[in-house]
Symmetry: none
DNA sequence: TATGAATGAGCGTTCATTCAT
DNA sequence: TATGAATGAACGCTCATTCAT
């Protein structure tokens, strides 16, 4: 029963995690009850404790951000074929998919928890991720716009774009009726196109 | 302890609100206890209920966003002497003041609560505020950049800038070490300057 | 200020007691709050404590049964001119006056309190009152029906009539739509008339 | 402690109800605490809430009058073999059993609560029960005494007898030393016998 | 190993009582 | 002496956690 169990155990663990994420994002970590999570996962409350030592641990793991595929792309830009514009567009388009708001809520709550507890580990993780993504953004900017970035604070610009991304998520959550992420991005891209000169820029590539 | 002046009562009320804001932003609304808030305010738990009917009401009022002066400026741009660039700078500079993070936490939690409960009132309020600010941003953009905005989706751009602002707040909270709001803004302003043509643009105004 | 105060003090004390009786009979002793009673009495909560040491004392005194005039008549039947039938009728007719239910509630609650706490004093008081009234009822029965009561357990009958009175109060409270006290009494009097022979009985008197 | 049988659950529920009835009748519903009831039932306070949603619900169910067998007899007089006199005697005799006072207290408190809150449901229930019993009493009176009731307000008389019953309960609670229910009833029955003529009356039946 | 009834600490809230004014 | 804001113990209730089954 040993080896097979191992796989089952892992599956069960993941299913609890997913149930928890659903409940957390809907109600918030504090308001969610273990009983609810158990029901969502289709097991008994007591069983959860075979897989997670406490609600806190479950929250910590259950809020570990959704493994966004797009994130990986930004973190490893060398392996990315598409240009900055296309990747941006895909990233922002994903925000308009159903379910994005749930992720945003979870991410925000997670951020809040980290900021409140001065949870160094979580904060560091976020910082590290930010660093990787920033590097990716800057890399792609440089690759696509080359010397036309001369005189620009590319890191500052990359950070601004990253902020813009988070802000778009946030506003989308709070005011679904406002101009959506994609429309915002288009306005920004028009700006960048104008700033970095004739459309040849990114087009040169290929 | 009878017949305390109206002013005293008001002061007490405000002091409770401030204590609550501190505790809420530190621990989150759900985790904060009335006992803690009372202690922070230097009174007994029961006394709070002379001023606020419930924890929920206290949370509602205690999280009512700090009356940011800057916000007013964006909402009434006709009365604003300074240009778009200057106002932006002031707005972002304020984010680097101490205490900004506290506000951001409170605002985020408030947003989360609203989004979770589908609290129509709060959501509407946010949406209305967003609308006013967007109008202000667009107004200032048009006033400062005039016909050079020809062909631009000014509303989309305004929304993008607003998103950028929120994102900057968020990132600042989560990764204090990253390029700060002001540096990000400078990069964006450089971009806008390049896009909207020779520096004369905003300068024309005088 | 001394002598005049004395009268005022007594008046104030009584007004508190009346306010308390009103609130107690409406909400019950446990649910009534000192603040409510104070408001009803038109004073401040703190002031009550100048006149009564505690809520319990206030309850004890405030529930001291309404000084029913009829009760006095039954307790001192020698001074009563009217016959048993007339006094009974007056007694039951009073139950159909507005306000009777409020008294009934208060009396019932008081009874409950006494029965619960095995409050010997209150229980004794009720017992003593019962004794006096029973004696009065028996006295009037014997005076009015004379030897026709031969062979009857007059004390048992008197007690039954007293029970009937209380039961009528109780049912009136719980089921206002049922045949009222007076109608019930009439049925009983018809029964007594039939049992004790030709109407001459009480009529002989004069 | 999982998968306890349905029977166990039912038993536990009933034991809580019994504990509650004991405490309620001893202290009154308002003064009784959940902790006390829990202790009386031999469980923890929290456990009660698996069986009852609130103290109020517990009170509602815990005060649901003891399913008196006698009551059923009065409500379905057609199925009753015994005559009015015998059934009355059984009913009043039951009042002298130990435990009757406990029930009376509970019933009185329940009545008070209903009257205070103007609890329409409870009041209606009481009214409906009263109606059924009254019908039963009148039915039995007519069956046993037949045409000798000519000229009587049978409904009024039935109601008077019902009031008498409640009053006897009440007085018994408050003044245990007074002539007991059975003795009172005997006096009343003597009266009825005298009023309705020669003993043949009920005897005719056979 | 899973269950889910039970625990009990801790929460929000109330209110009798006190006491500075 | 009256006021009424403040106290703080105690309540009803919740729920993370435990453990007998």
């Amino acid at each position: 029963m040993a080896k097979v169990s191992q796989a089952h155990l892992e599956a069960r663990r993941r299913s609890i995690l997913e149930a928890a994420a659903r409940v957390f994002s809907q109600k918030g970590v504090a308001a969610a009850t273990m009983a609810e999570i158990a029901q969502e996962a289709g097991i008994s409350p007591g069983a959860i404790y075979r897989y997670f030592a406490s609600k806190e641990e479950l929250a910590r793991e259950g809020m570990a951000g959704p493994a966004e595929a797009v994130k990986a792309a930004w973190e490893h830009p060398e392996q990315v074929e598409t240009g900055f514009a296309e990747l941006s567009r895909a990233t922002f388009a994903a925000l308009e998919l159903p379910g994005a708001d749930l992720d945003t809520r979870l991410l925000l709550e997670r951020a809040l928890v980290a900021a409140r507890d001065e949870d160094a580990a979580l904060l560091d993780e976020f910082g590290a991720e930010l660093g990787r993504i920033l590097r990716g953004v800057a890399y792609l900017l440089r690759r696509d716009y080359g010397e036309r970035l001369e005189g620009y604070d590319v890191e500052g610009l990359a950070q601004a774009l990253y902020s813009f991304y988070w802000g778009a998520r946030f506003v989308q959550l709070m005011a679904p009726g406002a101009p959506g992420p994609v429309r915002q991005l288009e306005a920004v891209q028009r700006l960048m196109a104008a700033a970095f000169g004739p459309q040849e820029g990114p087009a040169e590539r290929s």
